[in-house]
Symmetry: C2
Subunit: 300 residues, 2 copies
DNA sequence: TCGCCTCAATAAGAAAATCTTATGCTAATC
DNA sequence: GATTAGCATAAGATTTTCTTATTGAGGCGA
């Protein structure tokens, strides 16, 4: 450490003895003597007056002693500041999430995390999907929760869960009473869709094509919230991750109709910067996510 | 210097480049790289994030950067403080003198010194002879002016001048009219002497003995001032360094009578601590003293 | 996506610094 | 003036630091 030399000088000056200062610092008397001489040569001054015994500290030496004490103090401050920073960084995880991982689910995740890692902190920020990637890339978030996660050179993906999709319909809708629907039932239906540049839209389009049906896209939005609003307003039906409708179903604003559509799931994953080591908190949060996806393989 | 490492880190962090930081500090890129790694190992943290280009300073690195800047600043402060101290010490000389080096002569010495060394300062303190030695030994004075200087283990002597001795008499004294006296003229005269533990007293006693005369010691004092008072009061004659009487002669309170007494001089010398190096000012003051003793080999 | 360029990391060994042991020298003390 | 304790010095070993040469990786333009 930078202050080792300072400690040696301080001890020698305080004890007024080269040899005792040396032994305290676990070096030979000779090494200490040579060190002091070298120091005096560098500073071009006399720090200790060895013509008396015990030696005395010259005025210049007193200045230098002050300097050394200061350096030692400052290095200690640095260490504690680093410790604190390390603690707070290691003990915190910043999560950027898309909106559709709902508030209530996130609250549940936080609770489980708090049990596992009581001294840690989670910061959750809800962002639009592309902003989630940006946040992760810019190291503004340690973990990103996105649907249809895509890896790239700088982004790695940890799959989290595949969300079951279901029909979303207004309670009064013609299909609302049905307990089970097949794809064929959706042919020519009024449909509230995702924007056509979104992966989920492409997946649904592909699904319809495979099933040989066509839907009548009456509106499209770039987020689930607006789609649910439109469906609740009676503009048409839609296909959404079932768990994202739970609140509206409970409120009687929507109904969900299960339907058999193998492979029609929305994958959600965790994205993170490649090469970045996870903080302790981030590792714990991942553990929570993992156990959560097992626990609620379907709908909680 | 202690802050060399700090400078290297500061430059690397500021320039966001290991290689440029290295070249600024005149070391190879490799050395700088190894240094940073060693530093990170010691602090057990990552200071620079090399996964991006140009590299970025981590939060820990920013803390360390602050630390480095602080150390650099403090070392600069130390240097300037040392310079200042050195300047003020090197530019000052503390002189301890016996009283009989008169005020007017000292004023003259100061003038000559001021010409030779305009940025320097002299501190003169008048002390009794034994106190002069003490002051020099205790490093409270750089130079001591004493008569009959004695060297010892810790005290070295630089002879300065031998002061001519003359008879001091009251203007009305029987001998006052004489232009030249020999020792025989002093036989049985009333004499104001120095205390018998003083070297000058012993020297005079030896002189009288050698000349085969006896004086009648009517009073004795440990300092010239009192002797002059007694002589001026008419208590008797005395033998004093001629130059110490100049003021009283001018005032008509005393007369001095030259007399032939080879070997009867009062040596005055400069004493100083052995091994102690003279400050620049002290050296200059010695030069002044030397040239002064040549200039006024006798009485100015 | 492929070179290309720049920059950092690493390897190996040279150079320099620091340290140790052994011994000499000096202040302090009696 | 002899002894003791403590600092300085010498010589050489050890450790650290540095350099050159090379490898590996990010950034960038075609």
């Amino acid at each position: 450490m930078i202050s080792d030399d300072c400690k040696l000088f301080r001890d020698i000056a305080q004890l007024r003895s080269v040899s005792r200062g040396a032994s305290i610092n676990n070096i030979s008397q000779s090494a200490a003597s040579q060190y002091i001489q070298e120091l005096e040569r560098k500073l071009d001054t006399e720090l200790l007056d060895r013509s008396t015994r015990p030696l005395t500290v010259t005025p210049d030496g007193k200045l230098y002693l002050e300097f050394c004490r200061d350096i030692i103090r400052r290095e200690e401050d640095l260490f504690s500041a680093l410790d604190q920073l390390r603690g707070s960084i290691q003990g915190s995880v910043r999560v950027a999430s898309i909106y559709s991982v709902g508030l209530s689910e996130m609250a549940y995740l936080r609770e489980k995390f708090a049990v596992l890692c009581p001294d840690c902190q989670v910061h959750v920020e809800y962002l639009r999907p592309e902003k989630v990637y940006e946040a992760v890339l810019a190291d503004q978030a340690d973990l990103g929760l996105v649907s249809y996660p895509e890896s790239s050179r700088d982004i790695a993906v940890i799959p989290w869960r595949d969300e079951q999709m279901a029909i979303a319909a207004h309670p009064e809708h013609a299909l609302a009473g049905r307990t089970q629907l097949s794809a064929a039932d959706l042919d020519q239906v009024d449909f509230v869709a995702f924007d056509d540049d979104l992966t989920i839209r492409k997946e649904l389009d592909r699904f319809f094509r495979e099933q040989g049906i066509t839907v009548n896209v009456v509106m499209q939005f770039d987020n689930i919230q607006m789609i649910k609003e439109a469906v609740a307003h009676g503009s048409g039906i839609s296909i959404l991750p079932e768990r994202t409708m739970l609140l509206e179903i409970e409120q009687g604003r929507l109904v969900s109709i299960p339907f058999h559509a193998p492979g029609l799931v929305r994958p959600v994953g965790v994205v993170h910067r490649r090469k970045k080591r996870f903080s302790r908190a981030a590792q714990q949060f991942l553990t929570v996510l993992e156990s959560h996806s097992l626990e609620f393989a379907l709908i909680p």
